[in-house]
Symmetry: C2
Subunit: 357 residues, 2 copies
């Protein structure tokens, strides 16, 4: 295995933004898109970071994503809005939609925004976490190209359909639950294939409909199992959550059904029409902020005090690992796999933009 290359976060953000600008993304929105990708890398979600930059650029330049399209509010009530993103860059349209949800929640207490005609938006957690500086709770969902089988089924009908919640704390880091409703994300399969690792039984089905440990086969078959896997009494739950995400991101917004979405990875030659759903809850509308934060800190510390199972490390809070990774990578740099660096260097050479590392 070749060693990862450490890249400073701000240099990577700057390079990524300049790359988006060369594809025709306006400068301020390129900065947003770059921040979403680099935040994924900072949090250790390597599958959703700059490793995918070339996919986003390729789709823009094939005319499959319209980075200067305006957002249109197609239906509006005080705390329910539907946005047509006009096939804009998902990383940016999701940001704008969550801004609207936060603004309405600040005025009314809570609010929700559905988005149609959008594209892949990176990590769901980024948009949920936009609520945190406003002392709000954030919720973000997205549908995606079909890679996940229903419980009991053997053909991909659902996306990995992530759900992310972000909840502010006081002295403790925020609780951030950012998860595919499949057992694992498609990106985790990509990472396993890139690093040559086998995947555990229970992640995906193989061509024969039985569990496989080969990430390449799982990626080809596109038959990731829902959260809960094949286990009696639990596998239908991940499927049920994925179906809820589908209903909110597809049927409520007017976006495509996951089953009909073309993959972001550049294989598809038509617009994705991906859908999103966002909600925001202003903490102070429900409870005095100081009380809430003190209770969240107490909850976090209570959970952390749980004795670990034999052989397990200390119990961690949802998002704690990613928070620690962010602190460490902000300080030491982001370790990029050599194949990712090679891709970025090719982007740099093709576009005449000098990487700053």
């Amino acid at each position: 295995m070749s060693e990862p290359i450490l890249v400073e976060a701000e240099a990577l953000r700057d390079f990524t933004a300049r790359a988006f600008v060369t594809a025709g993304v306006p400068a301020d929105e390129a900065r947003i898109a770059a921040d979403v990708l680099v935040t994924a890398d900072l949090r250790g979600v390597d599958s959703h970071g700059v490793a995918r930059l070339h996919h986003y650029l390729a789709r823009i330049e094939k005319g499959l994503v319209a980075p200067t399209a305006p957002l249109t509010i197609v239906r509006e009530r005080p705390t329910a809005l539907t946005i047509d993103a006009g096939n804009g860059l998902g990383l940016v349209t999701a940001y704008r939609a969550m801004e609207l949800a936060l603004e309405r929640a600040a005025r009314y207490g809570s609010a929700a925004v559905a988005v149609r005609h959008s594209n892949h938006f990176g990590i769901a957690g980024y948009f949920a976490m936009m609520a945190l500086p406003h002392d709000m709770i954030g919720l973000a969902m997205c549908n995606a190209s079909p890679t996940v089988v229903p419980f009991g089924g053997r053909e991909p009908m659902l996306g990995t359909n992530p759900i992310a919640w972000a909840i502010p704390c006081g002295e403790e880091p925020a609780v951030v639950a950012d998860m595919a409703t499949s057992g694992v994300s498609y990106g985790k399969l990509e990472v396993a294939r890139r690093t040559g690792a086998a995947i555990p039984v229970g992640w995906a089905l193989g061509a024969d409909g039985a569990p496989t440990t080969d990430p390449a086969e799982a990626m080809q078959i596109r038959s990731i199992l829902p959260l809960g896997g094949l286990v009696e009494g639990t596998g239908y739950k991940g499927y049920a959550l994925a179906t809820v995400v589908e209903a909110l991101c597809h049927a409520l917004s007017g976006a495509a059904m996951s089953r009909e979405i073309v993959a972001v990875q550049g294989r598809g030659e038509q617009p994705s029409n991906i859908g999103h759903f966002f909600a925001a809850y202003a903490v102070d509308a429900f409870r005095p902020l100081a009380e809430f934060k003190a209770e969240m800190d107490r909850l976090v510390r209570t959970l952390r005090s749980c004795p670990p199972q034999d052989g397990a490390g200390p119990v961690r809070i949802p998002g704690e690992k990613e928070h620690r990774t962010t602190l460490q990578r902000s300080r030491d740099g982001i370790p990029l796999h050599p194949t990712v660096v090679a891709t970025l260097q090719r982007i740099a050479a093709e576009r005449g933009i000098e990487p700053a590392w």
Copy 2:
């Protein structure tokens, strides 16, 4: 094994309501409480139905639940309310709180309500499904006494902390995702113990911290595994969802933390101070209702068309099994286990209320 006894749903509802009245619950609220329990039995969630009636009655009569307490709005914005349930019967306070969420969502498009000082509310799905006749999407959550270990931990710190979503369709039955964020509910362990069945590996830890198949041991240790179980990369997701439910039902509402909640099963001798969280989304505020319902029908039919895994039955929609069970049990009667019938007969004899079956 002795045969179940078939009881007509309306007769069971009527008997249950009369039993609540003998405990001091006002007649209209007794009818609500009875409907919540009998709906669980109709849906096949036998663990959460009239089998628990005696627990609810016992807690009222010990003075641990105050069935005539008024609900108080302690904090209010147009689409964010916090309710103090005054230690009222959870089955009823949840109903009233969801009514408020629906009313606000009808006015503003979406709304959320947090509830403190409440008690066990039965199946979460009942309250989410209250949105359906209003052509709204419903969300319901609840925390609970500690029975679930954090991912990697070995002491119960969280409740089974259910999440339920209900989403209306057109011609198809509604999509209803009603699930404990643990792999299984505590009630499923109760059913297994009652019927003498072993539980699958991955449901719970035993006294030695390793997986157990003995429901009685799991109930004693109270160490149910989160959704995703012990599987690498997935078990932390159920834990993360349970923590989100905890944050919304405990920290946001001002109710107790699951870790500090006394079990409903009558062992505890103090009020529970359970918390709930409800939200409602008016479909028509986001998208014309007919369009939405047509797309939901299409989604349901698409999922159902998925070829099944070898040996599995047809792919079913979340809530479909419960919907079919409801139709069948409404027609043929609810099959009650003889031990449940014996409990109901004891209640009838003690209270001088004649069961109508």
